[in-house]
Amino acid sequence: MIPPTFEYVAPKTLSEAVAALGGYENAKVLAGGQSLIPLMRFRLASPAVLVDINRVEGLSYINEDKGWLKIGSMTRQSTVDHSALVREKYPLLADTVSVLSDPIVRNRGTVGGNIANGDPGNDYPATMLAYGAEVVAMGPKGERVIPITSFFIGLYESALASNEILTEVRIPTPKPHSGGAYLKLERKVGDFATAAVAAQVELDAKGKFKSVGLGLTNVGLTAIKATAAEDFLKGKDSSDDNIRQAGQLAADASEPIADVRGSEEYKRSLVKTYTVRALRIAVERAKGS
């Protein structure tokens, strides 16, 4: 399993990296490499040039700033996993990163990589959809902010241009009485999800749903935002009945493909079950917060 040859550059600044991406034909960003390098070892990807952005300064951070949790795109998954701030205030993200691949891969894998790949099996996209996150991209014409709802376009296709680099993801800092959870069926550690659900909720003073974010992993060509389920819950109380109905709506919104992990029917059922369970946990955490 030997990769094909390629040219390699390791710029030290973001602008150099962007220039390199645009300056070569068939150039690709090398971030964590935990998705790209295996593809190259199978010769399923043969970029002519790899632009290694691991030496670009200033892309690794986790900060709360002006109502947002800002995470640099080159922040390693393990840093997120071990962040007390994330565990305390962003339980949906903490849940997600803890089931992402395996703990060693997480030492190299980056936050940006898990979003920019466009792989429906990646765990971050659904979570970012549930959070209503934004991503920041840097291109030759400068920086732009892309709402996550516009980011995932198709299978391995994102709104990122081929000469843009994802630099940051921003999650709105949850308001009080918020909670979240991520539930994933993996057949073993390291497996992609048979299905997974990300739930982020905010309750009002009466305990009714003020806002709900629901993202679905690996039950479509991209991560799916279960909008109908989210809208249904707004203003309603967190009764089991309401949660179950939301679960059904989320299942209806999913577009699973039958494969070795399961039939369409099974995956839809998982979406429903996990939506219900994740909402229950999110609500409990919201009430506790």
């Binding site: 399993m1 030997i2 040859t5 069926l185 057949r187 070795v260 998982l270 429903k272």
Partner: protein
């Protein structure tokens, strides 16, 4: 004086010293000057004609030296090789490929990166042909033939037992049960893949073959037979099996890569290394299982079993390359009457060709014993369920009684010893069986699905007595040669080959027990055919029963000679001497004695006149019988009605492997074996679609459990020595792999039986369990 560390000592392992320092010598660690690398072009089609192999681009790649194809090998008549079942296997095809990922051409290059580039640069034109993947369809008249050199896809029919009496019992039975059980293909996936370094010494006409092999002598003989016409003869072939990173049966067969590497070395005169990728390994190497069993039991209403009837279709891939004793194409499958006293039994197995890789017994299974045990232990539960009897009670009722040993089964095996009720009772006590049954009732009333499954297995290992056993004609004795040095230390060499079982540690313990030489003073070697005595290698848990016995017998031969020397030294009569471990002494005068060390020294400096000097012995042990380890496993599961996930809450394993040489190592073998029973039960599977495309060629698709999924095994033991084995030991390497799956399946079925479920095939993936519950309207979407 150093500790003896004889039988029963949990002696720490000698081999650890190099492994924990990263100084193991695995095949890929070998580098020889001028060494070339071999990589392999593989077929994307399960069945296709090769129209043309375009080698220009590959040969134009700097560093690529050659592209070797079937016709090239045909010039030397090594394009085909015999399998261990005397069928024919292609090394490289002349014109047709028979399974996806089959070897099509070898690329020889200066380094592994270039070899990979060469493989990527080879282009092959194929003409796809119709594919046969369903063994039942393959047996229908007019079915597409897999093999051009055969009349049909039916390889052989094998039957055993008394058909007439069995059929009669079934006719007259009060109760009969029948289930179809499919045990799918799985793959050993040792963390080290297969490989070799072939070094042809043109000056002396010698071939040295370092190889991942569990049976170096057998390989040497086979290589000699298939290359004899090229001038290679057996004394000029040296096979060295260095450190092996796990075998489990997968490193028994001879794979095409080895032969191509040897041919390449002979042609170029340079050493050639071939190392598999994981994809090569999973896609093309010998698999285990793939048995379709129609299993029936007959008996009385009160739960007494009378007869057994199994019919099996064995999917062998495109050639029969299973490593079974030649008389038994279905291995030791006729152990399937298990731990129960059947009056009559009849079994049939039909081998079938399909467009898949060849193999069948590589997966820690003792020659089809896992399949046999899975079937009988599942059917015991099926029967018990049908008559509404507790499965533990059912087993106790039907066990072969302890007084009945040695016991001859309805299928002709003479079980050496066993106490099945004691093992089951112990397991039941350890797990708190009666309380669990109470809990299960309570949980079910609340709609929670909990299951308890038992597997009371009898294993059969130690192949095997020469009157019944041979592989390719080679008898399955095994050997030990011991040489004691003047200073009382020793070296012992064996015909077996450890791949992690700790032979360097445990064989020394056997000899230490017999001779009283501290185990630390006994160097153990295996794996070099130039120095080790001939043996058939390590697989099917045969090392302790056969080579371990040879160690004891060889030690006793040494002791016999030592006694003569002692008599000479003590100026006493041999008959007046007694032995206590480590010394001979004069009866009645215990302080008048000679230690084994003193005797050893005398063997070189002061031996009796007329006696040969030195102190050594060799034994080629032909076992009088196989040995029959056994055990009872109990598994408790809880099923998630929403997702279909099965959680193993507890798993108790009581094993009886007779005398335990090293309890620490025995437990390690059981932990590993249980895990290799659990994994196929829950998640491992190699599968094919209708076009013969294989699924499960990498570790994202072929699932091996991590420390998170693997249960925390609870072990117990009983000890029922083997009456015929010199030290009463039976062997244990595979018992847990053999016994565990049925316990887990029985637990899951037990959890769902109230729905009317009677069977489920492995692997019991979440989707499969969910679909089964869903079929019965029992899933919960919360």
């Amino acid at each position: 004086m150093a500790e003896i560390h004889g039988l029963g000592s949990s002696r720490k392992r000698v081999e650890d010293a190099r492994f924990i320092r990263g100084q193991g010598n695995y095949i890929d660690d070998f580098k020889l000057p001028g060494m070339l690398h071999l990589d392999i072009v593989r077929s994307p089609y399960a069945h296709a004609k090769i129209k043309k192999i375009h080698t220009e681009k590959a040969l134009a790649t700097p560093g690529v030296l050659a592209v070797i194809d079937g016709p090239t090998l045909q010039k030397y008549n090594v394009h085909n090789m015999p399998t261990l079942m005397s069928d024919t296997q292609m090394v490289l095809p002349l014109d047709t490929v028979k399974y996806q990922y089959q070897e099509v051409a070898g690329v020889l290059a200066t380094d592994r990166y270039t070899a990979a580039d060469g493989v990527a640069a080879v282009e092959v034109d194929y003409e796809p042909l119709p594919v046969v993947v369903d063994p039942f369809k393959a047996l229908l008249p007019g079915a597409q033939k897999v093999r051009d050199d055969k009349d049909s896809n039916h390889i052989w029919h094998w039957e055993w037992g008394d058909k007439e009496k069995t059929d009669k019992d079934f006719e007259n039975a009060e109760v009969t049960v029948k289930e179809n059980i499919y045990i799918p293909r799985i793959h050993v996936s040792s963390i080290e893949t297969c490989g070799c370094v072939a070094k042809w010494d043109a000056t002396n006409g010698h071939l040295t073959l370092w190889m991942t092999t569990q049976a170096p002598h057998a390989i040497r003989t086979v290589v000699a037979l298939i290359t004899g016409h090229l001038g290679l003869s057996e004394e000029k072939i040296r096979v060295i099996s260095p450190d092996i990173g796990g075998g489990f049966g997968g490193k028994v067969p001879a794979y095409p890569g080895y032969v191509i590497a040897v041919a390449a070395s002979i042609v170029t005169g340079a050493p050639v290394k071939w190392i598999e990728d994981r994809t090569d390994n999973l896609a093309a190497d010998s698999f285990g299982r793939d048995y379709h069993i129609t299993a029936e039991l007959a008996g009385k209403k009160d739960g007494t079993l009378t007869a057994l009837r199994f019919k099996t279709i064995a999917d062998h891939g495109y050639t029969d390359a299973a490593a079974n004793p030649s008389k038994f194409p279905a291995g030791l499958f006729h152990i399937c009457t298990g731990s129960y006293d059947f009056k009559n039994a009849f079994i049939e197995v039909d081998g079938v060709y399909t467009n898949k890789p060849p193999g069948g017994i590589a997966y820690r299974c003792s020659f089809r014993v896992t399949e046999a045990v899975h079937a009988i232990e599942r059917m015991a539960d099926v029967y018990a369920l049908k008559i509404g009897m507790d499965p533990a009670e059912f087993r106790m009722k039907n066990f072969i009684k302890p007084e009945a040993f040695p016991y001859t089964s309805a299928l002709g095996w003479e079980y050496d010893s066993g106490n099945y009720p004691a093992a089951l009772r112990k397991a039941m006590d350890m797990i708190g069986y009666e309380d669990l049954r109470k809990e299960q009732k309570e949980k079910l009333a609340r709609g929670e699905f909990m299951g308890i499954g038992i597997s009371s297995f009898t294993e059969i290992v130690g192949a095997g007595p020469s009157k019944h056993f041979d592989i390719l004609g080679l008898k399955m004795f095994d050997s030990c040669e011991i040489r004691v040095h003047p200073t009382g230390k020793a070296i012992a060499r064996f015909g077996t080959k450890s791949q992690g079982q700790g032979h360097e540690t445990t064989y020394a313990q056997i000899i230490a027990e017999e001779l009283g030489i501290p185990a630390d003073h006994i160097k153990v070697e295996e794996g070099d055919t130039d120095t080790a005595p001939y043996g058939l290698g390590t697989y099917a848990s045969r090392s302790t029963p056969v080579a371990g016995a040879a160690a004891a017998i060889a030690s006793r031969k040494i002791r016999e000679k030592a006694k003569k020397i002692a008599a000479h030294l003590l100026e006493a009569n041999e008959d007046d001497l007694e032995w206590e471990r480590g010394r001979f002494f004069v009866k009645g005068s215990p302080d008048q004695g000679k230690t084994i060390q003193e005797i050893a020294f005398a063997a070189y400096t002061n031996h009796p006149q007329g006696m040969e000097g030195g102190l050594e012995a060799v034994n080629y042990y032909d076992p009088p019988n196989l040995t029959y380890p056994f055990g009872s496993y109990i598994c408790v599961v809880d099923i998630d009605r929403g997702t279909g996930q099965v959680k193993i809450r507890r798993f108790v394993a009581v094993d009886d492997c007779g005398v335990r040489i090293n309890p620490m190592i025995v437990e390690g073998q059981i932990h590993g074996g249980l895990t290799m029973g659990f994994a196929p039960a829950m998640m491992e599977e190699i599968s094919y679609d209708v076009d013969g495309n294989v699924h499960g060629t990498n570790f994202m698709d072929y699932l091996l459990p991590t420390a998170v999924e693997t249960p925390k095994w609870e072990l117990g033991e009983t000890v029922t020595p083997s009456p015929h084995h010199p030290i009463g030991a039976k062997g244990v390497g595979e018992s847990a792999t053999v016994g565990a799956p049925a316990a887990i399946v029985n637990a899951v079925v037990d959890a769902l039986s109230h729905l009317g479920v009677t069977t489920i095939d492995i692997p019991m993936t979440p989707r499969k369990v969910w679909e089964l519950m869903h079929k019965h309207g029992a899933t919960l979407e919360e």
